[in-house]
C-alpha cells in the first residue's frame, strides 16, 4: 500500500480529500441531530403539552393539531390527483405523446419552484382572490400544489417498476385496461406509492415559508378549517425569531427532528419492500 502511494503521491492526496469530504458531510448531519437532541430533550416539559395555549406556556399542542390537519388535507388532495396523473403518463399515454412532454416539463417546473413563491401565490390566489382568508384551507390548497410533483414522480417510478408480465397476464385473462390498472398494477406498486406519500408528509411537516401567509400564524387551536392556525414549523420559526422562548424552540425542534427521522425510516422501509417485489 505504501509503495502504491509512493508511486503516485497525488493519489494519496485525492483519497484524503474524498474521505475528508464525506467526513464533513456525516459530521454536519451528526452534529446537527445530536446537538438538537441533547440540548432540546431537557426542555420537553409537560407544560408544553398543556391543553390551553397561553403566551406563557407556549403549548405546541395546537400547532401539532394544525400540522396534522394540513397533512391530512393536502395528502387527501395531492395523493389521488398525483396518483391519477401518474397512471395517465405511465399507463395510458402512448409513447412520444406531446401532452406527456408538456406535463413532464410543468411538473419539473413545479418541483423547482421555492416554497416562498408558493406562499406568495397562495396568498394572492387562495387567500385574496378566492376570499378564503388566512385559513387552514388556504394552507392545505397551497401545500397540495407544492407536494403534487413529489407524489406524481414517486408514483410514476413505482408504476414503472411493475414488470410488464403483470400487464400481459392480466390482459391475457381478459381484463380490460381499467381493471388491469386498478386490480393488478396499483396493488403491486403500493409500497412505492406509500414511500412517496410519506416523503410528501415530511415536506409538509417541515414547510414554513409557504404557510406563513396562507395558513397564518395564529398560535391557538383552530375553530375549523376556515380559521387560521400555525403548524409546528411555523411555530418553531416564530419562537426562534422572537428569541424569547429559546428553550421551547429547542423542544419544538426535537419533536420536528424525531418526526423527520421516523418519516425517513418509514419511507426507506417501503421503498425496500418495492425493490423486493419486482
Amino acid at each position: 500500500m505504501i509503495s502504491y502511494y509512493k508511486r503516485s503521491p497525488l493519489s494519496l492526496v485525492l483519497r484524503i480529500l474524498v474521505t475528508l469530504a464525506i467526513a464533513i458531510t456525516v459530521f454536519a448531519l451528526g452534529f446537527l441531530v445530536i446537538y438538537i437532541l441533547v440540548k432540546g430533550i431537557p426542555f420537553l416539559k409537560p407544560s408544553l403539552f398543556s391543553l390551553t395555549y397561553t403566551s406563557e406556556n407556549v403549548s405546541f399542542l395546537p400547532s401539532i393539531l394544525n400540522t396534522v390537519i394540513i397533512i391530512l388535507g393536502s395528502i387527501l388532495i395531492a395523493g389521488p390527483l398525483g396518483i391519477c396523473a401518474a397512471i395517465y403518463t405511465v399507463e395510458y399515454a402512448s409513447r412520444g405523446n406531446k401532452i406527456v412532454g408538456i406535463v413532464r416539463l410543468t411538473t419539473e417546473t413545479l418541483s423547482g419552484i421555492p416554497s416562498i413563491i408558493y406562499g406568495l401565490f397562495g396568498m394572492l390566489f387562495f387567500v385574496t382572490a378566492l376570499h378564503l382568508g388566512y385559513s387552514l384551507v388556504s394552507g392545505i390548497l397551497t401545500i397540495s400544489i407544492m407536494i403534487l410533483p413529489l407524489v406524481m414522480r414517486t408514483t410514476e417510478e413505482a408504476l414503472r417498476s411493475v414488470p410488464d408480465s403483470y400487464r400481459e397476464g392480466s390482459y391475457g385473462l381478459g381484463a380490460g385496461k381499467l381493471r388491469t390498472v386498478l386490480a393488478v398494477i396499483l396493488p403491486a406498486a403500493i409500497p412505492g406509492i406509500l414511500a412517496g406519500v410519506i416523503l410528501a408528509v415530511g415536506r409538509v411537516v417541515g414547510e414554513t415559508a409557504a404557510l406563513i401567509y396562507t395558513a397564518g400564524t395564529v398560535a391557538d387551536f383552530p375553530k375549523g378549517i376556515f380559521s387560521s392556525g400555525r403548524t409546528l414549523s411555523v411555530h418553531m420559526y416564530e419562537l426562534s425569531r422572537e428569541g424569547l422562548h429559546t428553550g421551547e424552540a429547542y423542544a419544538t425542534s426535537v419533536i420536528l427532528i424525531v418526526v423527520v427521522l421516523l418519516i425517513n425510516w418509514a419511507s426507506n422501509k417501503f421503498s425496500k419492500k418495492l425493490g423486493k417485489n419486482s
Binding site: 502504491y4 508511486r7 503516485s8 497525488l10 493519489s11 485525492l14 483519497r15 474524498v18 474521505t19 469530504a21 464525506i22 464533513i24 458531510t25 456525516v26 454536519a28 448531519l29 446537527l32 441531530v33 396523473a85 397512471i87 395517465y88 403518463t89 399507463e91 395510458y92 399515454a93 406527456v100 408538456i102 406535463v103 410543468t106 419539473e108 413545479l110 423547482g112 421555492p114 416562498i116 413563491i117 406562499g119 406568495l120 401565490f121 394572492l124 390566489f125 400544489i145 403534487l148 380490460g176 381499467l178 416523503l199 415530511g202 411537516v205 417541515g206 414554513t208 415559508a209 414549523s233 418553531m236 420559526y237 426562534s240 425569531r241 425542534s253 420536528l256 427532528i257 423527520v260 425517513n264
Partner: protein, 290 residues
C-alpha cells in the same frame, strides 16, 4: 350487450379522469405565472424597471418611499455563490467517495444519512445556524455573526444532499470501461476516477450544481434567521445581508398598497431567476441523456 356498454363507458370515464389529473400540473403552473406576473409587473412598471432592479436603496417607509431591490439581488447572489463554493466542493468529493471509494456496506449506511440531510426542515437548519454557526462566526471572525459567511456555510450544508445525489448518479452513469481502460494503462484507482470518470460525468455534475444553485437562491426560512437582514448594499463577507426571499417574508405581514405590490414584484424577480435556472437544468439534463 348492456354489460359491455357499461364497461366501455367506465373505461372512457376513467381514462378522462386520469387525463384531467395529468393536466392539473399544467393548470397550476399557468395559474402561478398569471397571478404572480399580473400582481407584480404593474408595480415594477410604476416604480420604473431600472429604479426597481438597480436602485441601491430600499426604504418603503420613507416619504417618498424608495423601492430599489439591487441590494437584495446582490445579497441573494452572494449568499448563493458562497453556498455553492462550500456545497459544490464538499458535495462533489462526497459523491465521488460514495460512487467509487466505498464498499456496498458502507454505502448502505451513508446513503440514508445523505437522504436524511435532505429531509431536515429548513427552519431547523435556521435554528441550528442561529444557535451554533452565528456564535461560532462571531467568536472566530468578528462582526455580529449574522453575515454572508454564516448564511453561506448554512446554505452550503443544506444543498449538500442535492449536489451529492445528482453528482453520484452522474458518476455512476459513466460506463465502467472508462475506469477499467485507465487502470489497464497503469493509472492508480484515484487517478482513474479523477481524470477519466470525473470528466466524463461533467455535464451531469454541472446540472447538479445548477440545481443546488436554485435550491440555495430560493431558500427562505434558514437564511432569515442567520443573514442579518439589513436592506443595504453588502459590505464585506462578515456584514449582514438581506436576500430576495427574506425581503418578502419580513415585510409582507404589514405592507400595503405599492409597498405590498413591490414585495410581490420581488417575488416576480426571484421567480424569473428560478425559471431561467430550471430551463438551464433541463437543457443540461437532456444533453446528459443523449
Amino acid at each position: 350487450m348492456k354489460f359491455q356498454f357499461n364497461t366501455s363507458f367506465k373505461e372512457k370515464i376513467a381514462s378522462h379522469i386520469f387525463l384531467v389529473s395529468a393536466l392539473a400540473s399544467i393548470l397550476f403552473v399557468a395559474l402561478i405565472c398569471v397571478f404572480l406576473f399580473a400582481n407584480g409587473v404593474p408595480a415594477i412598471l410604476k416604480i420604473g424597471i431600472p429604479d426597481f432592479l438597480f436602485g441601491k436603496e430600499w426604504a418603503p417607509t420613507d416619504e417618498p418611499a424608495v423601492y430599489g431591490i439591487f441590494p437584495m439581488i446582490l445579497g441573494s447572489i452572494y449568499v448563493t455563490l458562497g453556498a455553492l463554493a462550500i456545497g459544490a466542493s464538499v458535495g462533489l468529493l462526497s459523491a465521488i467517495f460514495l460512487a467509487r471509494f466505498c464498499s456496498d456496506r458502507m454505502h448502505k449506511l451513508l446513503k440514508p444519512a445523505v437522504e436524511l440531510l435532505a429531509g431536515i426542515p429548513s427552519v431547523i437548519y435556521g435554528f441550528f445556524g442561529l444557535v451554533v454557526i452565528v456564535p461560532f462566526v462571531r467568536q472566530n471572525f468578528g462582526g455580529s455573526g449574522a453575515s454572508i459567511l454564516t448564511a453561506s456555510i448554512l446554505l452550503g450544508i443544506m444543498i449538500l444532499p442535492t449536489i451529492i445525489s445528482v453528482s453520484e448518479a452522474a458518476l455512476r452513469a459513466v460506463p465502467n470501461s472508462y475506469y477499467e481502460g485507465s487502470l489497464a494503462l497503469g493509472a492508480t484507482h484515484e487517478r482513474s476516477v479523477f481524470f477519466t470518470v470525473l470528466p466524463a460525468a461533467t455535464s451531469g455534475i454541472v446540472a447538479g450544481f445548477i440545481l443546488g444553485f436554485g435550491r440555495a437562491i430560493g431558500e427562505t426560512m434558514a437564511v432569515i434567521l442567520v443573514a442579518g437582514n439589513q436592506a443595504r448594499m453588502p459590505n464585506g463577507i462578515l456584514g449582514g445581508i438581506r436576500t430576495l426571499t427574506a425581503n418578502i417574508v419580513l415585510e409582507m405581514g404589514y405592507a400595503a398598497d405599492l409597498h405590498r405590490e413591490a414585495l410581490i414584484a420581488t417575488g416576480v424577480v426571484l421567480f424569473t431567476f428560478i425559471l431561467i435556472i430550471n430551463l438551464m437544468f433541463s437543457i443540461l439534463k437532456k444533453r446528459v441523456i443523449q
